[in-house]
Symmetry: C2
Subunit: 647 residues, 2 copies
């Protein structure tokens, strides 16, 4: 009896369980699950080196289910193996085959799509929005390599989802970074949700494409245990990364789930017996029953790696950091761009925290992450012009014990907002830094300016991630000192953070030893008539307006609201001393600091808040001031509005 004789019986057993759980839950994707049943059986019982009682083991091989909707087949195998589930190691318990009937229940760890955050630690990232898994796998592989861990990453990709461009971004990244411990398994069942998969995503087409992208591509029958066994056994030992193009059958083994459109549709409970009988019949036709061979996975053999740690040592002072990173002159000149200060901070952070890695998308000489590259070439990952892949790679790296800082133009980060949200759903501890935000970019025009970003990230900052923390924290540094300290704060803060930096050099607004905190704001100027609140670049503009207003006899408090969620109380309190009047100025579209303060004020009812945000889609202008004028945010505009508010 061959070593793969256990496969058909196990595949049928898992298939039955997968169908059953969707039927009990009343929703889910049994037919997609059935198409993966042999692949998952060979991976989870034989090829992956892992221990079901310790899914947190960093040495273990990992599986990324990119086509997240097929997850019932994983839950079935995991339950059969008694894998541990739970929101923490302390609370964990072994999953049973009865538990799986809780699929998609509010209290269950078995979410509709993979999500480690809700208690399924076998997965490293939330998936379910398609096309993201190969990038996550690449990030896991890269993190393992930098930590000297020898493990393999298996990524299961649907044929239909291979239409997502991100798959091809990831394919390039894997080759660029020589991550041949990543294996892409394409599940070619030929059927999408609404229709057949396009001929552009046929097994033949995918084989041609992967080969053209520099992978070794092999096409096999995805229900042939011997063929799967042979190819999966090669992973990690091929010169090029291996892509296994597996031809499969949607609803494998159960003819009644193959006729008509069964995508995302479980059988009625009354039809379950029939489907199970079909699966049994399929098995008996294959001559199955019993079967020996491996039926438990092997645990990893390598010694446990040192625990990833860091973040204890403090960064040096801002002055020292500037001096030793080539910006000593700026200290005397009295000005430095926030993006440059970010480069300085990232580099200093690298020195005190070995977990820190940096990713950039071909703009490192603009975001200043190139300073980190020079200091730590092995911890820098050039992702080229492919932001979606970059964000999902960072998610994989975070799951692999790294602390990834992702930088590009803030505008280009918006290319990856779907990936950002999946990262947030899976509670990935990644740090996003968008440069050239707002309109101060001037001549390059609106295609390079990030403007809805503050509203977008604020929406996350106001929601609990399920563990009692806000799902995302936003940092809006107004000067280089703030950018330096807020970069440090991001590293210390557990959870997703977004920071916005600006292109122009700006004068220092803070003493070099100023301190900052999550939720905080600083009063930079006092006055009796109006509380003027700015963020980022607009703090400089607001201070200039305040100076002008002072000349007209209008005294302004000026606040720098440098984080979201913002603790609004100090600002509202201060406003009570300025006749209850606040004016917020922001170089972004509506929905940022103004909305934050307006919501707080409208709830309390004793302070009035006016706001100025970008009022026109920008265009190019030769200077930042030109564009600020166009969008209604010049010093003149603020002075006029302030007069109106205090009148």
């Amino acid at each position: 009896m061959s070593e793969t004789d256990f496969v058909h019986p196990k595949a049928v057993e898992l298939g039955k369980l997968a169908v059953r759980m969707t039927s009990v839950a009343g929703s889910g994707h049994p037919s997609s699950a059935l198409s993966l049943t042999h692949i998952v059986t060979l991976l989870m019982y034989r090829h992956m080196r892992w221990d079901p009682s310790d899914p947190w083991d960093e040495r273990a091989d990992r599986l990324v289910l990119s086509e997240g909707h097929a997850v019932p087949i994983i839950y079935a195998a995991y339950a059969d193996l008694g894998g541990m589930v739970g929101r923490s190691r302390e609370d964990a318990h072994a999953l049973t085959v009865t538990d799986v009937e809780q699929l998609r229940e509010l209290q269950s760890e078995l979410d509709g799509h993979p999500n480690p955050a809700e208690g399924f630690p076998f997965f490293d990232a939330a998936t379910g929005s398609l096309g993201q898994g190969l990038s996550v796998g690449a990030g896991l592989a890269a993190a393992a390599r930098t930590r000297g861990i020898e493990k393999r990453i298996f990524v299961l990709i649907g044929d239909g989802e291979a239409r997502e461009g991100q798959i091809w971004e990831a394919a390039d990244f894997v080759v660029d970074h020589k991550l041949s411990n990543v294996c892409a398994v394409f599940n070619c069942n030929g059927e999408g949700q609404a229709d057949d998969v396009s001929a552009q995503q046929s097994a033949d087409a995918l084989e041609r494409k992967m080969a053209a992208f520099g992978w070794e591509a092999v096409q096999i029958d995805g229900h042939d245990p011997a063929a799967l066994d042979e190819q999966l056994g090669r992973v990690g030992s091929t010169r090029k990364p291996l892509a296994i193009i597996a031809r499969t059958v949607k609803g494998w083994g159960a003819p009644s789930l193959q006729e008509g459109n069964w995508h995302g549709k479980p059988p009625k409970r009354s039809d379950l017996e029939k489907v199970e009988a079909e699966l049994d019949e399929t098995l008996s036709k294959l001559g199955g029953g019993g079967g020996s061979g491996t039926t438990r996975p092997t645990a990893p053999a390598q010694a446990r790696p040192a625990r990833a740690s860091g973040g204890e040592k403090a960064m040096v002072s801002f002055e020292e950091a500037c001096e030793r990173n080539g910006f000593g002159a700026a200290l005397k000149e009295g000005k430095l761009a926030t993006r440059r200060a970010y480069g300085v901070a990232l580099t200093e952070l690298g020195r005190v925290d070995p977990r820190v890695v940096a990713l950039d998308g071909d703009v490192r000489n603009s975001t200043f992450s190139d300073m980190f590259l020079k200091a730590f070439p092995d911890r820098f990952f050039e992702c080229k012009i492919a932001e979606q892949n970059m964000v999902s790679v960072a998610v994989g790296m975070a799951a692999g014990g790294k602390l990834p800082f992702v930088s590009t133009f803030a505008k280009f980060l918006s290319r990856a907002y779907d990936q950002v949200e999946l990262a947030l759903i899976g509670r990935a501890n990644i740090k996003l830094v968008g440069s050239h935000a707002g309109v101060s970019l001037g001549p390059d025009g609106p295609s390079q300016m990030s403007l809805p970003d503050v509203a977008y990230f604020r929406s996350f900052s106001r929601v609990d991630d399920g563990s009692g923390r806000n799902a995302c924290t936003v940092f809006l540094p107004s000067d280089a000192v703030a950018a330096y300290r807020l970069t440090e704060l991001m590293a210390r803060h557990d959870g997703m953070c977004y920071m916005r930096t600006h292109r122009p050099d700006v004068s220092f607004l803070y003493p070099f030893d100023a301190s900052f905190e999550v939720g905080g704001s600083h009063r930079l100027r006092e006055g009796a008539d109006l509380t003027l609140v700015g963020s980022g670049y607009m703090v400089t503009v607001a201070l200039e307006a305040a100076e002008r207003l002072a000349g007209e006899g209008v005294g302004c408090n000026v606040f720098d609201a440098y984080t979201l969620p913002l603790n609004c109380e100090p600002v509202l309190s201060a406003a009570k001393e300025t006749n209850g009047r606040i004016l917020v100025v922001e170089d972004n579209y509506a929905g940022g600091v103004h909305a934050e303060l307006a919501e707080a004020a409208a709830a309390a009812g004793d302070v009035r808040v006016a706001g100025m945000t970008c009022r026109r889609v920008p265009k190019s202008g030769r200077t930042a001031e030109d564009v600020l004028r166009l969008v209604g945010l010049s010093v003149d505009d603020i002075v006029s509005k302030a007069r109106e508010v205090v009148a």
Copy 2:
């Protein structure tokens, strides 16, 4: 003398002009522009059939500059040809070679990156965020085909930007839809911004990849006029779409712009003469000077097509529409999902407006755009699982005279937010419809739920697009009647619209002849103690809460805030009759209707506004009610909060 002898002299002339304009502007990308100089010369002077005095001509061949930063070379050619610029046909004037020195000026039509909205009608879409052009080109080609216009679309793509996955989504789409009148020209100069382009984007790699994607791929020297002439001459007559992989030199002709990193950096004005001398010397080495052959493009020969028009005829009544589209029973049952009503509306819209086309991403049986497919198979475009491409294709279609409705899950639209913003910058008249929004999706979990979308689109709804209109209008239908009428409103409204539909069937809240307007809201219930405001699915929940509260003696106004920007005045006025108290309930993250009303109330200062948005990142629950409870939006939660607000 051959027909291409004019090319080298013209290329040098245009190159000089491109360098000059960036030098005068003090910013821009001269070296990228120089790498395209021969390609642009052959296209704009010889191969494209177009008339510089009528860039609006729908019969004309089109050029899409995907790598938008190289735009100075287009401006140079356009000025040399005296092409018309202007924000409208009436205000247009011929561009001159002196005008180009206004590059990136606030008043100039020559923005830093291509943008038709600011007065450069030669372009069809804003580009500059990379990787979007091939999709736009595909949309232009598809629109032309449906209108019987024989034209060719040339898309210029940078090698570095070919890393963006969207390029590969577009490559698939072009093949799927047999758009062999699209030509992709890859500008392989080998240099990115921060570093060399990856070997994964070398000319050889791109040739292999495009061939694997089903294109005819040819590799040539991009500065060889004869080779370019030959290949460009084949466009439209090949069996497969043609990809021309052109090896080029960044900073062609000017050695001083080739040493070191000149990406995005113009020479100083004092160095201009030197660069011009270098270009002259390059020309003399090539034996150039003078030269005959074609030096003006040829205008299109085909007869002018009928003007695209539509939108005059009214849609039939909601009842009739339901009856004749298979939802007659719903009228009696008294309930229908908003997404189903969208399918009905889209189909009826198709009947009265021939411009309407529909695009979907393999979920048409969930969004109900499949109803449109059945009625109008030639006007439906299945884009498969590739949302970025889908949105940019729609932009191209809109530019080609169509009225595209793009539907997918609202969550998956977020995959294309960068493309959405570029569409908005270029003022593309596209309609985006996201289904399964909010948490009422229940069992499928957060990876399928759209939650930051309202904040994101609201940020656009509050900004002027430069022509006096808000850049985006958001529609939030609460029932099927609203969804039907708001779909019609979207078609009538000139400019980008976003509509959010929900999965569950909901009871009719409106009489079948109810009417709706942009900025409007409806009061669905009256009460004296509290003004309760909901949107979308939450209106149904709010009405249930109001009923419960009435039983406790708390009378509620209930408003349906169905659009953003919202005319807040009626709601605030009504609230004054309910002790100045408003409670807003939304099944999305913060930044939507609550922020809208809070900003208005905080400015006026006489009404207090509380808000309830999704307070936790959701997970799966078996029912919508389960998940509403988890995120703090159940009827119980609303009733408690209402009690607190009125206390």
